[in-house]
Symmetry: C2
Subunit: 528 residues, 2 copies
């Protein structure tokens, strides 16, 4: 979209748009653009181990902020954290018939528990005398190991509900990996709850989906569509899978979180029963729900631009960076004295502030770097500001005004304000930026969403017009979903919950593929 | 010690001392006592996977508090968090000669990346077609994988220092496990820093030891001895290893944290050089330092008693529990109205409060349970308190007064105070309890520390008098350390840094074993 091409020129001309040192423009190569940002903003690296990533401090600080926000929400809804073993005996996987199909395929298998010296000079090798009786897999998800523990804890209805979350690493062996989006190891949280009734468990499934929506929209500034997965796309072992789906800047969908109602499947597999209040034994009802470091990929692709990363202020490890400007030692001393005062005043406002004290790096290069790294607000402080008693605030982005020149937009990013006014305005400016990011992303999603009633229109949307979210009627079977996937590289992202359909998408109609009657539209899209 | 047997009778007579339902008294079986507390306070469980534990919510909440406190200290000293892969190629282990000896022995080895269906009815098995070219181990510690990443990040002195910490799970295959103290998988943090000079790296090693001391003493209320490990006890690959050592209630030492100066060993192994400010290439200097969930075991064994867990208020997930007392619905309504007001006022003081609203459980049973679970302060609220406008505060413990009767001590645990006074006193009471725990542990350590100058006295101390920390002169070699270990089951815990020696332990003297001159005493003890 043109506005995104335009609005984000760094204040320093050197960093302007396509002349940026390291970032490939989105229009040129979207995938490259994404990886350039991950690399140049020092968010993550490939590691020496195939498919595994190193999450660098800049990337990890985003995850820490996400964790804090999510964890607070989990606790506010009555959940507690715990930790279960990373290893799962392979026999556990087989206990739930569908689960084994979903997770046995690509996982890391531990077969030995010791190394020994290999022949001289050849280092070490697995010791054949240390073969495990039963191989272990590194958890791809923890339903099985957790339900084997719940069996010990649950006896009566008084032991229910169990509302536990776990922050952990998981491993799913992936052949084609992409930093944050798809890696062999990733970090996530997985909630695993146990309930006395179906009603309560189903309510929990929806409650956590709402927690994810709230977090995505109000913290990540990323609008999402809440809905149910089709049977074909359900979690292996679930009765119902819900998801939130976000739109990336290339129009593709990204599944940002899932919440599953597992019925009594895992309770049956692990024989977990409880005595209900009438004294009868019953199988326990379950849910599980999770989000992962994939969200960092989603965050990048929702907001960033050709100048680099854009972070919503609520997830920025540093919200304000202060760059000193001076020509000699006398100026330097005065400027730093003011910077220390300003930094202190901002910290007193509970803002996170970084002062860029590096010597031998020009201010322009610093501006460029902090824009690349997505710091929401920059304060420049030099001798002129001291004289005037003012501060220069530079936003990481401003929203496009139609017909505006690049120069005008660049000017609009900077505000010169009297000192006291500037300090009082920083929090409101950050709040405004947070809101603008959401509004812009929502506007983008709306522009790229289409209510579609024929396969011709559908084909045109995806093959000629760039695609996006297609709201279509669907009443097909699993093999027909596959057919659509093969023909258009699209899938049903979810069957949206009520109240989210755009104008013209309400009501019943004929399935776009089969013509069979459908009561409600689904969202189809290409996806990550 | 007698005072610990005496002081901690629960307010409810049912829960008194040796009549406690589930806790074996320390005097009867110390190991059993420890495991009883872990189990009865629901801190951790054995899992279905040999040697791996489940950390239950009560145990995990202690870890979360520890993490928050440590993480704040790491950040205050300039560190940032990151995340590195869980897998390490086996060849990496061999790159540092000593490191491979230390860690190749007992580790989980991943050899396959896929499972397949076994013969009908036999579940799944590793797919022979998925053998990894190079086996991977699950990290026992991350020096190697991290230094392989640092090689990519470090080019010039401007890239230094790197001050990174990681919160992670690690695996060391253990044959004999004990919940929290020794398990195959455990949680920890590992700092890995890179520096341009030896001086700076050595200073970092000591700085982090001091962070650990501060945390142990001021948060865990657990006094520690800071010192250097002997060559025989050094971390595999370190030039110098420092530790903090705490004394448990059975007089044994527990290594509570370590900080290592690694010199240029890992830089050499992974060829990590930088251009110094004179333009010359040099190998980078390294440190690493860590503490683990083992600290939860240390916490239990430092403070708890025969009535169950005792938590320092700074690590209690719930600091105050409120138990309602009523006989009928009318009383119940009034009592809960007051409880809601009290809870709100305490939350406004930023205290964590839990109201025990369970029906069908008698107040006495609740008192017992919350004492068992280590909640520092209990408030009982009943109709009489409403009438009098007072609150009943019951501490988890009070310190012994010599010659006092059990009844008097039990009475002293409860305070009936006018409402406003009670609410104002809770924070000071918790602070006092925090300090009392430290003082008591320090007093205990002092009582069980001895300056020893002959092997006869040494033998008597450990074989007849229960043992503890023996301050002895030492100038032996590694094989002589082993000899002491075999003969007395003791080891040199560390060579204490200056300023910690008890009276009479200063100055030079002859080695207790060899008679060779020694300039400084070491601490010898049995250990976990």
């Amino acid at each position: 979209m043109a506005y995104q091409e335009n609005i984000n020129q760094a204040a320093n001309p050197k960093a302007g748009g396509k002349e940026g040192r390291g970032i490939t423009p989105r229009a040129e190569d979207y995938s490259r653009w994404y990886l350039d940002i991950v690399k140049e903003a020092e968010l993550a690296d490939h590691s020496a181990v195939r498919g595994c990533m190193v999450i660098r401090p800049n990337g990890y600080s985003i995850w820490e902020k996400m964790q804090r926000e999510l964890d607070n929400r989990f606790k506010a809804t009555g959940h507690v954290n715990a930790y279960f073993p990373i290893f799962i005996p392979v026999s556990f996987l087989s206990k739930e018939a569908e689960h084994v199909e979903g997770f046995a395929k690509e996982c890391a298998v531990v077969t030995h528990y010791r190394l020994r010296r290999a022949e001289a000079g050849k280092g070490v090798e697995p010791d054949p005398a240390s073969i495990l009786e039963e191989p272990l897999i590194v958890r791809p998800t923890s339903e099985t190991i957790i339900w084997s523990a719940y069996k010990e804890w649950i006896h009566s209805y008084r032991d229910l509900p169990i509302l536990i979350n776990q922050w952990a690493n998981v491993v799913r062996w992936e052949m084609r990996t992409r930093l944050f989006l798809r890696t062999a190891e990733f970090l996530w949280q997985e909630g695993h709850t146990a309930h006395a009734t179906e009603e309560e468990a189903r309510a929990e499934t929806y409650r956590m989906l709402e927690v994810y929506r709230d977090f995505s929209e109000n913290v990540m500034a990323m609008p999402v569509i809440r809905g149910a997965k089709t049977a074909a796309e359900r979690f292996a072992g679930a009765v119902e899978s819900l998801s939130i789906e976000a739109m990336m800047q290339d129009g593709k969908a990204l599944q940002a979180g899932t919440s599953h109602y597992l019925g009594q499947n895992f309770a049956r597999a692990f024989d977990v029963t409880f005595q209900n209040s009438q004294g009868l034994r019953e199988l326990v009802y379950a849910t599980s729900w999770g989000v992962s470091t994939r969200l960092i990929g989603a965050l990048i692709m929702t907001h960033s631009d050709d100048a680099g990363l854009i972070l919503p202020p609520k997830l920025a490890g540093t919200q304000v960076v202060i760059v000193p400007i001076y020509k000699n030692d006398d100026e330097k001393a005065k400027v730093y004295a003011e910077i220390d005062r300003v930094a202190q005043e901002l910290q007193a406002q509970e803002l996170t502030v970084h002062v860029d004290r590096r010597e031998g790096v020009l201010p322009g290069a610093k501006f460029y770097e902090w824009e690349l790294k997505g710091i929401p607000l920059r304060i420049e402080i030099g001798p002129k500001d001291l004289e005037k008693g003012s501060l220069c605030l530079a936003r990481r982005f401003v929203l496009e005004i139609l017909g505006e020149t690049e120069k005008a937009m660049r000017a609009r990013k900077k505000m010169f304000l009297p000192r006291a006014e500037a300090l009082a305005k920083i929090k409101p400016i950050l709040a405004e930026m947070q809101q603008q990011l959401f509004d812009r992303a929502l506007q983008f999603r709306n522009q790229r969403s289409r209510v579609i009633n024929s396969l011709e229109e559908y084909e045109k949307f995806f093959k000629e017009e760039g695609g996006g979210f297609a709201w279509v009627h669907w009443a097909g079977a699993a093999d027909e979903e596959e057919l659509m996937a093969k023909k258009y590289q699209t899938s049903i992202r979810n069957i949206p919950l009520d109240g989210q359909a755009p104008a013209g998408a309400e009501g019943a109609g004929p399935c776009i593929l089969t013509g069979r009657p459908s009561t409600q539209r689904v969202v189809m899209a290409e996806s990550y």
